[in-house]
């Protein structure tokens, strides 16, 4: 037998398992992954873990956080100008912003992959038209296109998500398109074609395993942009309305209180920062593991 069990390697690892074993060595990335998982858990179970109901108003207005003089343990992060619990509103904000961004990334990636792959596999006029159309859409700044879509649909949380996804979709399609196009010229894809493989099989076994690294960083990019844009639109007042408050809107609503109660502005910003940071570190670790796995 070629593979004998006297050596440590008793089993041949698939590229995925190998990538994972490299990834596991990266402590920071592992920590980021756990924080990311916790954040996603918060999004899913936000309804069960809210310390107070978001609309409850108490008499104590503008309480500082618990660890600062004057803070009370009932309101861990203090209260806002209407006596609402900051932690509760923060968790709700995370749910709306992060949840929206995750949903949006999922939808954009599925739609973008379908359109991009179809375009890359069809040749000729249709692909050419799509190419130029995407080119033109890409030079419209995302904020501008989001504003245009908001102006057309009217401001609301759902429309904000739609606007952001539509403004990010061209980027995703374009990146996927270029990746697949590059991959199609590789010899192993041509060989698979000569085996008689149809397009679906070509994508599944030939192309996608090999563009994993760029997919990971692309998804990360789209996700970060989604978070920042959703909160930017919220901040500008085009996102959530009334009581459902997403992180950007939370900042905007407390901007006037920045000197009397700065934490109302600080906490949502830090929350956005941590979300983007954690997902970035996680995917960057993943990407490095994929690259390292390919090098060896």
């Amino acid at each position: 037998m070629l593979i004998n069990y006297e050596f440590n390697e008793d089993k041949i690892q698939s590229p995925l398992q190998y990538t994972w074993s490299i990834f596991k060595r990266n402590n920071i990335a592992i920590a980021a992954m756990w924080v990311a998982i916790i954040l996603v858990m918060i999004v899913i179970f936000a309804g069960y873990i809210l310390p107070n109901t978001p609309t409850t108003q108490v008499k104590q207005l503008l309480l500082p956080p618990y660890w600062i003089d004057g803070g009370v343990s009932d309101h861990f992060l203090g209260t806002d100008d209407l006596g609402r619990d900051t932690l509760t509103r923060l968790i709700q904000g995370i749910q709306l912003t992060l949840g929206g961004a995750l949903l949006l990334t999922l939808i954009v990636s599925i739609l973008g992959t379908i359109i991009g792959a179809t375009a890359a596999l069809t040749k000729g006029l249709k692909a050419s038209i799509l190419h130029h159309f995407l080119d033109a859409l890409l030079i419209i700044p995302t904020l501008l296109s989001a504003l245009i879509l908001i102006a057309i649909f009217g401001p609301s949380y759902e429309n904000c998500l739609i606007a952001v996804s539509l403004s990010l979709l061209p980027q995703f399609i374009r990146a996927i398109y270029i990746n697949i196009e590059n991959e199609l010229n590789k010899q192993y894809i041509i060989a698979l074609r000569l085996d008689g493989a149809a397009n679906i099989r070509l994508l599944r076994f030939g192309i996608f395993p090999n563009i994993l690294e760029s997919m990971v960083s692309l998804l990360n990019r789209i996700f970060s942009l989604a978070i920042l844009e959703i909160s930017t639109l919220g901040f500008l007042g085009f996102g959530t309305q009334f009581w459902d408050v997403e992180l950007g809107a939370l900042i905007a609503s407390s901007i006037g209180l920045i000197f009397s109660s700065p934490w109302l502005v600080l906490f949502p910003g830090i929350a956005i920062f941590i979300i983007v940071l954690v997902f970035n570190v996680f995917t960057e670790g993943l990407r490095h593991a994929v690259i390292e796995g390919e090098d060896e």
């Binding site: 590229p15 050419s128 010899q187 192993y188 894809i189 041509i190 000569l194 085996d195 008689g196 395993p209």
Partner: protein, 259 residues
């Protein structure tokens, strides 16, 4: 000798499209006609850019010809289904490290053509793979390996196994020996000759090394500017080349120590 492959008046024209976004101009190919007998080896030689690769890619089905007919065992190639075509002609690429998908096991690489082109059940697929691996001289243990775990020669063997697994009539090999070390090259050459002896497969080679071409082939086609300059059996080409082009080509490939 039975005629296996018949190519007649094959042409490929690249028209410079009138649109602004044209992808450039390439030299046309053809018209080209030749025949290949069963169990024979045909070598195509010529300087780079002479259309050798285009020709074999047309035969392999990667590029569609502008005009002309290719028929195999008397049947025109265009009348065959994709599956029949795959079973008739297989191609081996120049560099196995780029023609074997790095993310897929050898087992999967070898299973794919069987799944796509035959009605074999799992057991038959397994047997066919074992038989083919034995033919190219590999152990079945390698099935769980990924291509980058193998040495270059083993990768060549796998690439050859992928071509042989459907028992094709013709194997097209596009300069497959160029990347190999001289001692390893002979291992593959002997392997190829063994396979031909056992299975009666025909080969179409694109070659650079004149000594190998002379060693392996029965028939040689010399190409220049997309046209056939000379088409004759090997001994004739090497001993009494008819055109200056062929003479120069042969001369340029004489190693110094022969002088």
């Amino acid at each position: 000798m039975q005629t296996l492959l018949n190519v007649s008046n094959l042409c490929k024209n690249y028209k410079r499209s009138a649109r602004f976004l044209s992808s450039g101009f390439r030299a046309p190919l053809g018209p080209i006609s030749f025949t290949l007998g069963a169990g024979q080896t045909l070598s195509i030689i010529g300087e780079s850019g002479s259309g050798k690769s285009t020709l074999v890619q047309i035969i392999a089905g990667l590029i569609s010809p502008s005009s002309g007919d290719i028929s195999i065992k008397g049947q025109p190639l265009c009348s065959l289904s994709q599956q029949e075509r795959c079973r008739a002609i297989r191609m081996v690429f120049q560099d196995p490290s780029s023609s074997l998908n790095p993310k897929v096991t050898i087992g999967r690489i070898l299973t794919a053509p069987l799944e796509l082109n035959t009605d074999f059940n799992k057991q038959q697929i397994k047997e066919q793979i074992q038989e083919t691996l034995a033919l190219v001289g590999l152990l079945t243990d390698y099935l769980d390996f990924y291509p980058n775990m193998l040495s270059t020669v083993q990768q060549h063997q796998v690439a050859l196994a992928r071509a042989m697994i459907l028992n094709p009539d013709i194997i097209i090999a596009d300069e497959i020996l160029a990347t190999l070390d001289i001692s390893l090259r002979f291992k593959i050459v002997n392997l190829l000759l063994n396979i031909q002896e056992n299975k009666g497969t025909s080969y179409i080679f694109v070659g650079h090394n004149m000594n190998l071409v002379r060693h392996m082939s029965d028939q040689v086609i010399v190409m220049n500017n997309g046209l056939i300059v000379e088409n004759n059996n090997t001994a004739e080409i090497f001993n009494t080349p008819q055109t200056d082009y062929t003479k120069h080509l042969l001369l340029s490939h004489q190693p110094d120590y022969r002088k």
